[in-house]
């Protein structure tokens, strides 16, 4: 059920809006600086593919390599910031009950889905079809005049992939439990594209159909002792870059 409150009546930490995304679906939304997107895995085993763009300049986009190397990490969790290719922070992971989200395995494609779980066409199954992550992003990108050139390495929230000593990928089963959540606090205005299609390395026997809920929360002010800003020296410098970007105030201040 969708609920919407007037953001003026909501105190910091309060929920402005909440909604659900059905399994195997895609959507997009514009998040404002100073709001939190809380994603909740309703049943356990969800996967949320996600990409970020700067709505003022769509050439600025989420950059997974800069995010990982800048924080010397392969996994993403509380404290990590998610960077653009322009040295700025789209959002910070301010809370996370999952512990590991991955960003190097990309998406399912029509071919991967067919090979793993078989084809379920729209004609036969309508919205219970086996949608794939790649096409989901292409549809959402096209709504903003973007295309496959603009597609970058995406996040797969709620999904974990580790490596062994030789670098072999290991998909971690049951990484996210029912009720697990992750909170992204936006540090600049951001176009968010997302889908709820399965992770491409999912070992599920049948195409996993996992819904999510999400809330948009009014974020408290970022304090000097903010966990994410102080998590690494690099993040402090990332926050400085955002501050420089917002000199003179952002559009909705």
């Amino acid at each position: 059920m969708t609920t919407l409150s007037s953001s003026k009546e909501v105190t910091p930490g309060g929920v402005i809006y909440e909604d659900k995304i059905a399994p195997a679906c895609h959507w997009s939304l514009r998040m404002r600086k100073g709001t939190i997107l809380k994603l909740i895995d309703d049943e356990g085993g969800a996967n949320v593919g996600m990409l970020f763009y700067n709505p003022e300049n769509m050439l600025e986009r989420y950059n997974a390599p800069d995010t990982l190397k800048g924080q010397h990490t392969f996994k993403l969790t509380k404290g990590n910031c998610l960077y653009s290719d322009m040295g700025r922070i789209f959002c910070s992971i301010v809370e996370d009950s999952v512990g590991w989200h991955e960003t190097v395995c990309g998406n399912t494609t029509k071919e991967i889905i067919k090979e793993k779980w078989g084809e379920k066409s729209y004609q036969e199954f309508h919205n219970e079809w086996n949608q794939n992550g790649h096409n989901s992003f292409l549809v959402e990108l096209a709504k903003y005049g973007l295309g496959k050139k603009d597609m970058a390495a995406n996040l797969n929230l709620f999904s974990a992939v580790g490596v062994d000593d030789e670098g072999n990928l290991q998909y971690l089963e049951n990484n996210s439990k029912a009720g697990d959540s992750v909170e992204l606090r936006f540090e600049m205005d951001t176009l968010v594209l997302l889908h709820t299609c399965p992770h491409p390395l999912s070992t599920a026997e049948e195409y996993p159909r996992k819904p999510i809920s999400y809330q948009i929360i009014k974020a408290p002010e970022v304090a000097d002792d903010d966990y994410c800003m102080n998590f690494r020296d690099e993040n402090g410098r990332g926050f400085q870059n955002n501050e420089i970007y917002h000199i003179g105030g952002c559009c909705h201040d």
Partner: protein, 212 residues
């Protein structure tokens, strides 16, 4: 996996030394083999590939990692496109491991990694920007610049989910060789980075060799 090449440099149809801080952009034809030679050791060659007939098809780090089920690149690795096609295959490698997780240096990311006052130091992405500006025939813009391969870079991922930057496994004379499965635009920035200990703060030239 270490594998030496049987090819002889004297028989190459093309040879060019690329100084550190310069770019290299050239079409390698289907079936041709090209080598990147680390002349002085521990240099990083930040490399992108595009389908020469349709450059919207390009090298994809995530598709390459997922399809081979491994984060490191070496002999036998098939370099995949964003359309999940094989663009090239690594056919020889005397270094043993190359990175495709760490991306390239850019002036903006240097501000995060090192210091805000490093922002005007030369970086790989600037070389790529100059390359696409000087080679308008390919019709490429910043949208086409994506996640690359760092040949000769050693970026181990730990079991705990960490990422470390180790001294390179490369040394003077080490090389990696690829065979093209399609006509491919090769775009290399020979990394100018002066802030990273992994190249001893000393970027050095690489040589490109092509055999028909």
């Amino acid at each position: 996996m270490i594998k030496e090449s049987a090819l002889v440099a004297d028989n190459a149809s093309f040879r060019e030394v690329v100084p550190a801080g310069d770019y290299f952009m050239k079409v390698v034809k289907k079936g041709q083999i090209f080598r990147i030679l680390d002349l002085e050791g521990n240099q990083a060659a930040d490399t992108l590939f595009y389908n020469a007939d349709e450059p919207t098809e390009r090298y994809s780090a995530v598709d390459t990692i997922r399809e081979q089920g491994n984060v490191y690149l070496t002999t036998g690795t098939k370099l995949m496109s964003n359309e999940n096609n094989v663009m090239l295959e690594i056919v020889a490698d005397t270094c043993g491991r190359h990175d495709t997780v760490g991306g390239a240096c850019a002036t903006e990311s240097n501000t995060i990694r090192y210091s805000l006052d490093k922002k005007c130091m030369h970086a790989c992405r600037d070389s790529w920007m100059l390359a696409i500006a000087e080679n308008e025939q390919y019709g490429m813009t910043k949208r086409d610049i994506t996640h690359n391969i760092n040949f000769f870079m050693n970026v181990p991922v730990t079991k705990e989910g960490g990422l470390t930057f180790e001294d390179g496994l490369s040394a003077p004379g080490k090389y990696v060789e690829m065979q093209a499965h399609m006509d491919t635009i090769v775009l290399i920035s020979n990394c100018p980075q002066l802030n990273n200990p992994c190249n001893a703060y000393n970027p050095t030239p690489v040589e490109i060799l092509i055999w028909d």
